[in-house]
């Protein structure tokens, strides 16, 4: 626990920063209540696990992972890969929509 303290502090600051950022998005009306709730709960879970990594022990044992930090890295990596793929699909979708809109405008304004 003691040797993880430095990382825990970074994790806690990170979690609070993202909570604040989520709150800002909600206040600017860029997030719906649902989205706000989802991200807030996610950051809260992140903070709890950062403060009490022992809560993860049963999961670590069942997955044969030695340290909580390794678990975080694996989950983080999977999350990033998933996010990249998700972002790619959104970008492609928007690219096609943009192309259609630009094409329609071009034909209408001829």
């Amino acid at each position: 626990m003691a040797e993880l303290l430095g990382i825990q502090i970074i994790g806690i600051l990170f979690g609070f920063f993202l909570m604040y950022y989520t709150f800002l998005h909600y206040k600017r009306k860029e997030f719906t209540v649902k989205e706000y709730g989802f991200w807030l709960v996610l950051w809260a879970v992140f903070l709890i696990i950062t403060l009490f990594p022992g809560l993860l022990d049963p999961i670590l044992k069942s997955l044969s992972i030695a340290r909580a930090l390794d678990f975080f890295i694996i989950i983080g990596f999977l999350f990033l890969v998933g996010m990249i793929f998700y972002t790619y699909t959104i970008v492609r979708k928007n690219q096609k929509k943009l192309e259609e809109v630009v094409r329609n405008i071009a034909v209408k304004r001829k």
Binding site: L98, E99, V102, R103, I105, A106, V107, R109, K110
Partner: protein, 222 residues
């Protein structure tokens, strides 16, 4: 056999200096001309309109593939039977249009190929050779110049080769689909002038094209 309803589609991006000359020369061979101004920052649209041709303008720059598709879709909606695609930067000489029209009579698609030219940058020579070989290996289409945009195709062929790519990889996608749908094709030699070495397909584009071709072969249904 006389072919009716021939359209020329000229995608253009910042080509105010050359577009009028291209249109003037193209008009000698084809009456119906569409210029697609792909969000140019200069006066390309104005220069084209002064030449009394139809101008479609993209409000933002989307890429050559998207611009050509806008023009071809419009031509097809207006009952085009044959479409000739050529660049606006004076790389393609419109005086060679009759060669394309002669050869399209017995083919679905006619590809122009640039004769080996000492002015062609070495990196382009290698890139083109590599892409040609990849296309031959993956799709069985033996093309001398996969990156030459001077082409003619029938409306029927267009419906099959209608590309998804919005950038320069549309030229390879067109060939890939020619192979996939067993379209009849022919190549005709053309002269090419290299006016601007910073335009056209870059090394990165080349890498993207090869990766896309592998994807189209094994993953995409296109």
């Amino acid at each position: 056999m006389k072919i009716n309803n021939i359209w020329a589609v000229i995608p253009a991006y910042n080509e105010e200096k050359t577009i009028a000359g291209i249109i003037k020369e193209t008009k000698r061979h084809i009456d119906k001309i569409i210029v697609v101004d792909d969000g140019s920052k200069d006066n390309t649209s104005k220069a084209a309109k002064e030449s009394n041709v139809l101008v479609l303008r993209h409000v933002v720059n989307l890429g050559k593939g998207a611009a050509l598709k806008t023009g071809c879709d419009f031509a097809i909606k207006n009952n085009a039977k044959i479409i000739v695609a050529l660049d606006a930067d004076a790389q393609h000489d419109p005086r060679e249009i009759p060669k394309f029209l002669e050869n399209i009579k017995n083919n679905d698609i006619v590809f122009g190929y640039r004769k080996l030219n000492k002015n062609m940058p070495l990196i382009l020579k290698f890139g083109n050779w590599f892409i040609n070989k990849t296309i031959n290996f993956l799709y069985g289409v033996n093309i001398k110049d996969s990156q030459c945009g001077y082409r003619a195709f029938t409306s029927k062929a267009y419906k099959k080769i209608r590309w998804n790519a919005s950038d320069y990889s549309m030229e390879s996608e067109m060939i890939a689909k020619t192979g996939r749908y067993n379209l009849r094709y022919k190549e005709v030699p053309i002269q090419t002038i290299y006016s601007d070495k910073y335009k056209g397909t870059t090394i990165l584009d080349g890498v993207k094209i090869v990766l896309n071709m592998i994807l189209w072969r094994f993953i995409k249904n296109g």
